[in-house]
Amino acid sequence: MNEKYAIALDIGTSGIRAQAHNLETSKIISTAITLRHPLPGANVVDHLHFAIEVGEETAHKLLINTINDVIKNLGINLENVERVAVCGNPIQLSLFHNIEIRDLAYWGDNVLKRLNITPPSRDATIVSSDKIGLEVNQKAKIYIPPAIKHEIGADALAMLFKSGVLEKNGIFLVADFGTNAEIALVINGDVYTCSAAAGPAIEGQMIEKGKLASPGAICDFEIVDSGWKSQVLDDELIVKEGNIVDPLNGNIIYKGYMDGKSNGITGTGVIAAFSLGLATKIISLPKIKSPDHMIHLQDEIYLSEKDIIMIGKALGAFRAAYLTLAEEAGILLTEIDSTYMAGASGFYVDPHKSLGVGQIPPSSQEIYQLGNTSLAMANDIVMNPDLLEKLQEIAKGMRSKHIMLATSSIFEKIYSLELAMCEQGMQFWMYNNWLNKYGFQKIPPQTSTPQIHKIFERDIKELGKNGLKIVKINSTLMADFEECTNCMTCTKNCPERALKMENGTATVRTDLCNGMGCLKCELSCPEKIFKFGKFLSMK
């Protein structure tokens, strides 16, 4: 067997996805993914922060080692790999490429000047695999697609390219929902973009019982009889029927197949619960109107008022973001012809619920769920390497305007209304009145007849004949602390149980660790000798 292969890679904040192609038959052979990211942290800024504080080289190596593990699981002879294409947001691609990342960590000129940082070019480029350290044929070429601009990465290019809206006349809203949502409003080819920091609640993180999509996670609900029926992911990540539970007290009304088998709730699950909670008036922000102020789900999983406020704010950030774009572009939300939801969470969420909770404009009539567009674009590039040049042209020629939400006075006004709704219980009619008072458009009523186009069965279009393999990340970093008294305060305080300490040698599971957003190990050390920055050596 001397078939030639190519690999498409998507480096996402919540995991790595790889697909092997047979270059002769042009067919996908297999797919391998991880369910976490190897770098510590819950979001991409944490990954970035880790790289800056602990070391860019360490971060790069951690990432590449994991990618090597993933592609080994594709079941192909890696020596026969001719090319690799990769896609992801600018931080992930820069970590992969091992180029300057600090320009992405700070806003404004002050830090860049002080640290003498020159932002690197993030144009399309081809590098050889030995430069990156990928364990494929060392002559294999690695294709890295361009960022559109400093703030808008190849991931945003992918969602715009794959939705096909750049060449169409009309008004389109395209969004990749994640911890950091990339949102673009395209008006007859003119592109308005923004990046909404929704926070990790949208991926099920920072929610007390939340978790990323993985076996045992509750991912959706529907109202059945007088209770909520949950949908739970099984070991193969297939959605299976869970229990019907009375959300007010947790009483089981009906036992489903996944009874006793759930262990947390995903971001889409939280959105679904939020949507049902609002519809049934169990949630009246910022309160939950049950005897103990909790929403009870199956297997003693629950949502607290704090969780509800978190998800409310995350969804509020989306609404404030697209409304800001519409106001900046001078269009009405009702004029949007189609709405495109990219990414895994934009694929698995029930759009009817997205409409109701404001994740997408309630007037969205045509809704397309695109799935993972980064991986799809990487697939396009490996099958047609010339595309890279064309993508560079598209990126260069794009008439785009990036709206920095953090400095937009429109966004500030709207987001303060979102905060007032989530935290203070301001009513929606008042929210609309305020929009009117500010001279902005009101949020239109919800359409009763949305057309939902879900083209594929899962967020990855085609898994290949050898199917899907889920790869466990097992990366660790070590550090020695000579003055350690072995009091074990650090390990006890680790919320993810990612830390081990033996005779002054600390070992951390990097994929489990919450990283710079947590630092409970370092902060709790009574001797003040634990320094997270010392985690440099790889096992």
């Binding site: 404004g108 303060s416 957003g517």
Partner: protein
Amino acid sequence: MSYEELENKMDQTFIAVRYNVEIEGAAIKPEEDLDVVNIIPTEEPFRAIALAVLYEDRDASLANVEKALANDIPPIDIINKGLMKGMDAVSLLYTKGFYFLPDLMLAGDGMMEGIKECEKVLGHKSETKGTVVSFVAEGDPHDIGKNLVVMFLRAGGYEAIDMGRDVPTVDVVKAIKEHKPIFVTGTALMTTTMTVFPKVVEALQKEGLEVPAIGCGGGAVRKDFVESFPMSVYGVEAYHAPKLADAIVKDKKTWKDLRKEYADIVGEFVSEYS
């Protein structure tokens, strides 16, 4: 019996109850709130000035103040008896859940416009409870939190020096030297930028400077991080800022006291401090 006679015989609630009003309360004019009545002055022109702030009417606020100044009303009285009273009422309605964040922001604008006008006549800054320096961490553009803090501080009677977003540490130190604030607030949304807080403290210590407290807060900032370096206190909500400042000014509290007595000082349950 005439229609009116019949109508006056009736106890309406015996026939029909407007449960929406029962539950939400009847809409009243803000100045008719039982507590607000005691705050808003009855004497003109102060009443009109206070009401313009209460009604979040920037233009009216400015016009009222200009008119009062033209009539030789002392600017200090306009501020203390008019503008500040209006803002006190707004803050009160906010804590009662009748007013919301945007109300505060708009009313605050009206108040500030008026104060500026008064200060022009006064020729100097008006007397406040104290000066506070507020900044957003270097490299961080997210200033909504800081804007709220500044607004609450001003509403609470403090002179808040707004340094804006992305403020280099040297500038923060310079401002502290210049203004000798009773309190400093620093905010950050990104984990990458919150790391400047300990650096600000370090720089102050190097220069031998000290402030009673630096309140640190914002999106990614957490209490255990803030308490890992001295001179700081973790601020949970923007509206806590003037209460912390009050504790410093009135009761001479230090950053150590603020950390210990946070919930008592802000007067409510704070889960982060429980």
